[in-house]
């Protein structure tokens, strides 16, 4: 049936290539092992998520409202423990020894000020050595304090000049997994497709079947097409697996359209399979191909925007990153998972930024801020570190 559709030669080489991958024990391992390792390593080990944190409290107030805030903090699933501190020195020590990641300071008049609706301030000290985690904890505290504020039906005064009231879009809980897990789809389809394709020609050269292939009446395009099918199918299968696992095991929503995801995935897989094919053609042995693939996937990965924001790398590398299929597919994947990216965005070829640079964001003004977020921010959006309760 396939033969009738594609012609016997193309069908024969596609079937042969699939068997070659499925029957070669080494190739089989490279299909099963990387996805599993990646799932474990990225899904659980490399998370920057903030959980089980310890927060210090220096409560000079001891009133109703400071108690309320501390109780809510203690009840949050993120916070494992509240440490009572009795002095400024103890607070400093707790931060210095990394006993706590953040400490709240309530002034003696806090509850009184709140009750009198004079406006009150909670001071917070964060451990700057863990800037990422500290900011996320800041977000948690912000929400709790705001919640308290809302509950006591106090009208919020306009924020003082120079500060912005920022809400994280698309990843409201700033769950780090929400950023890493969609990226895994990119990484895993990249690794599985290139590892399969990079072996394909090199294996034939090493085993001596290459000449046999070259004296058969195949046209070059038929050989190339035949060799592209297994990596694309395998990349598709792995991506699909992750597409199913991500919402189920990690609770990361897929908000976009599958009709957009699969065409984008196909384009991405064809692009990386093409690069892998180049490695395979240059290599003479499977070992060389393996090393070549390794040498290739690391920079592809680093320049994808996953490991470091593209905007932060030197301009000449940014140009390279533009040529990196993973960079573009990462934008699409993050967008489809978290942002419900529309087709116009998926297929738009333009500089998009998946990491939002906080400092710049803070200087942007009101209406554009929200708009910019929607377009540009993704898994990790930023939060400010000041808030008011009035």
């Amino acid at each position: 049936m396939i033969a009738a559709l594609l012609g016997p030669r193309l069908a024969a080489i596609i079937v042969k290539e699939l068997w070659a991958v499925l029957r070669d024990p080494r190739a089989r391992i490279s299909l099963i092992l990387p996805p599993l390792i990646q799932l474990v390593v990225f899904g659980y080990a490399s998370t920057m998520e903030v959980k089980h944190v310890t927060i210090g409290v220096l409560d000079r107030d001891g009133g109703q409202w400071s108690h309320e805030i501390v109780q809510r903090l203690a009840g949050s699933p993120t916070v494992q423990r509240i440490v009572r501190l009795d002095s400024e020195a103890a607070l400093a020590r707790a931060i210095d020894t990394q006993q706590v990641i953040a400490a709240l300071r309530f002034d003696p008049h806090f509850s009184a000020d709140v009750s009198a609706r004079r406006g009150a301030t909670v001071g917070t000290v964060f451990d700057g050595r863990k800037s990422n985690a500290a900011q996320i904890v800041g977000g948690y505290i912000d929400r709790i304090v705001s919640g308290v504020s809302a509950d006591i039906h106090l009208a919020r005064p306009p924020p003082p000049p120079g500060s912005a009231n920022v809400t994280a879009w698309f990843n409201p809980n700033l769950d780090y997994l929400w950023f890493t897990i969609p990226s895994l789809v990119v990484v895993i389809s990249l690794v599985s497709a290139t590892s399969v394709v990079s072996q394909s020609v090199a294996r034939e050269k090493e085993l001596g079947t290459y000449d046999q292939l070259m004296v058969s009446p195949f046209r070059v395009w038929e050989i190339l097409a035949g060799k592209m099918v297994p990596p694309v199918l395998i990349g598709m299968a792995n991506a699909t697996l992750y597409l199913v696992v991500n919402p189920l095991a990690f609770g990361v929503p897929f908000t976009g359209s599958l009709w957009l995801f699969y065409p984008a995935l196909l384009v991405f897989l064809l692009a990386v399979a093409g690069i892998g094919m180049l490695v395979s053609v240059v290599a003479n042995t499977q070992q060389q191909a393996f090393l070549g693939m390794f040498a290739l996937t690391v920079p592809v990965f680093l320049l994808s925007g996953y490991a470091a924001p593209i905007d932060n790398i030197p301009p000449f590398l940014q140009v390279l990153a533009e040529a990196n299929p993973a960079k573009h597919f990462l934008i699409v994947t993050e967008g489809l998972f978290l942002k419900g990216m529309p087709a116009s965005e998926v297929f738009a070829v333009r500089r998009q930024n998946i990491w939002h640079i906080r400092r710049r964001k803070l200087t942007e003004s009101g209406p554009r801020l929200g708009f910019g977020f929607r377009r540009r921010a993704c898994g990790v959006a930023s939060v400010d570190v000041r808030w008011s309760v009035a």
Partner: protein, 571 residues
């Protein structure tokens, strides 16, 4: 009888995952001062036996004794071991290799100088001491390997197929060197798949599928078939048909083509049939011929296959054409400054076998590759089945079947999957593909291997599968690259029966070989040396050029190469 330097008794070794043991109750002894041959086709167990003697692997049962102690617990400094490959460090020079082996074998510094001098003179490698081992020719590599094994004057020399990849000239030199060593009182084990080398050994152990079929002087074995081997002249193109008829006669247990003659072996205790009964011309006479070791091997195995080829019977008749089936017109290929093939021209009419002969690296493979489209010629033209190699590559490839020297099917794929793939490759599908595959399975008895990975089959079956895949689409032209090197003589006979049968149907065959037995089957052959054709003609014409009565193909080969060298030096 002198004490042996080494001996094995009832040695058995089975490797995991293999259905047949690599060695099955083999006993033999190596005596000092004698050339002991370990002879057998590839996969017979030769390397396993040598590795056990070298103490590298343990036998499952039986004993291996070297210098009176178990092989794993003996003085290994006294063993010179030359493995088949990997024996040399290709990125080191000749002298560095020697020095490395001297270090490994703990040769005292004081003795080093004398040892190196002796070995370099002996192997005639003094001029090349600074050359990288990887850049030596096959013959020189083997000589260096021998020198490395000899660096500490061993008492036992184990040589694993030293003749592989070495042209006949170097092979003779190497043999003379080792023979020299044996006469000094060293025990030498020379393993080989070339049965003609067996005849020159003092004593021979013949291995086949792990079992020792014979152990003793080669002469005693060939004596068993004395008066049963004959030679009969068959002029012209009739020899293939005649051989087929003769082999179909129950009295004939083996037959081969020898240029314009046939060599036939008659069954034991059977009267010699008349010429007419054998299908020969009425006047033809059977002349007794000197029996060879290979004949005796065939006899031990119960005789060769009969003459008819089912493959050929089912093959289509290739239509007659006026144009040559293969045409090479001044084919030239350069790699940088180096010319690998220099104006090679020949043509092969439909229904003939043409041979490309020559030492390794002489340019025969380059010529072969240009004709099958693997290399683009730098100059000159070629055509296959009327298709120009430059303009209609894919069409030319569609009309040829290709069989490589090394097993080049997909070893990880099952036999069935290989057949399916090659059927599709040549555009067969549906019923046509099924018929072709079923026929191949029946003819080559592949049914019990269908689900097995092709790479794990015995060598003979791999060879059958390779041929089956190459002719699934019944091409008019066949390209064979050393098709039967290393296989046992029965498989070789069967193989050539198929080829001869297909040639009768009009198939044209191009074969490269440095295996002189295969050259005898050619209608015409050209000898390529240093990128040039130095002689072209029928096998008998080439033999006549050797200038010696009753010359073998190998004699002709050596004589022609030496003449070419002389001519070049004179120029």
């Amino acid at each position: 009888m002198t004490d042996p330097v080494a001996s094995v008794a009832a040695l058995t070794k089975r490797f995991a995952g293999q259905s047949v043991p690599a060695l099955d109750a083999v006993s033999m002894r190596i005596e000092p001062g004698r050339m002991t041959g370990l002879v057998g086709p590839d996969g017979a167990g030769k390397t396993t036996l040598i590795r056990i003697l070298a103490g590298l692997i343990d036998p499952d049962r039986g004993s291996a004794t070297v210098f009176g102690r178990p092989a794993t617990d003996t003085d290994r400094a006294m063993i010179g071991y030359m493995p088949q490959r990997f024996g040399l460090y290709e990125d080191l020079t000749v002298i560095e290799n020697l020095a490395l082996y001297a270090d490994l074998r703990g040769l005292p510094a004081a003795e080093r100088r004398a040892s190196f001098d002796r070995l370099l003179d002996f192997t005639d490698l003094r001029r090349f001491t600074a050359r990288l081992a990887g850049q030596l020719s096959g013959g020189m590599k083997q000589k260096l390997g021998l020198a490395c094994a000899m660096v500490r004057a061993p008492h036992l020399l184990l040589l694993d197929e030293p003749g592989v990849g070495v042209d006949p000239v170097s092979r003779r030199e190497l043999w003379a060197m080792v023979k020299d060593l044996a006469s000094d009182g060293i025990g030498v084990l020379w393993s080989t798949a070339y049965l003609d080398e067996a005849e020159k050994c003092d004593t021979v152990t013949l291995l086949n599928e792990g079992r020792a079929l014979y152990d003793g002087p080669p002469q005693d074995l060939t004596d068993t078939i004395r008066d049963r081997v004959f030679r009969v002249g068959v002029p012209g193109a009739g020899r293939r048909v005649t051989l087929r008829h003769a082999l179909d006669n129950p009295a004939v247990i083996d037959g081969t083509v020898q240029g314009d003659a046939l060599r036939l072996m008659i069954r034991a205790d059977t009267p010699v049939p008349t010429a007419v009964a054998l299908g020969l011309a009425p006047g033809a006479t059977l002349v007794p011929a000197r029996p060879r070791f290979e004949d005796a091997f065939i006899d031990l195995l119960g005789g060769g296959p009969s003459g008819s080829s089912q493959l050929a019977d089912h093959y289509r008749q290739i239509p007659q054409t006026d144009a040559p089936a293969i045409d090479a017109d001044r084919l030239t290929r350069r790699f940088g400054d180096f010319t690998a093939a220099d104006h090679v021209s020949f043509n092969v009419p439909r229904g003939q076998i043409f041979g490309l002969l020559g030492p390794n690296g002489a340019g025969k493979s380059t010529t072969f590759k240009m004709l099958c489209g693997l290399l683009t010629p730098s100059e000159g033209n070629g055509s296959v089945a009327g298709f120009d190699l430059r303009k209609a590559k894919a069409d030319a490839r569609q009309s040829l079947g290709y069989m490589a020297q090394k097993f080049s099917l997909y070893g990880d794929l099952s036999v069935q999957q290989n057949l399916n793939f090659f059927a599709g490759t040549y555009g067969l599908h549906g019923g046509a593909a099924r018929d072709a595959i079923d026929r191949a399975i029946a003819i080559f008895h592949l049914d019990r291997y269908l689900k097995v990975n092709a790479g794990t089959m015995p060598l003979g079956f791999k060879q059958r599968l390779a041929l089956a895949c190459a002719v699934l689409h019944q091409p008019p032209v066949l390209f064979l690259d050393e098709p039967t090197s290393g296989v046992d003589p029965l498989v070789r006979r069967e193989f050539w029966n198929h080829i001869n049968g297909m040639v009768e149907k009009g198939v044209t065959v191009l074969v490269t070989t440095h295996f002189m037995d295969e050259a005898e089957y050619c209608d015409r052959a050209t000898l390529i040396y240093r990128a040039r054709q130095i002689a072209t003609g029928t096998p008998d014409e080439l033999k006549a050029m050797a200038g010696k009565a009753d010359a073998t193909m190998e004699d002709a080969f050596i004589a022609l190469i030496e003449a070419s060298d002389l001519q070049r030096e004179a120029a």
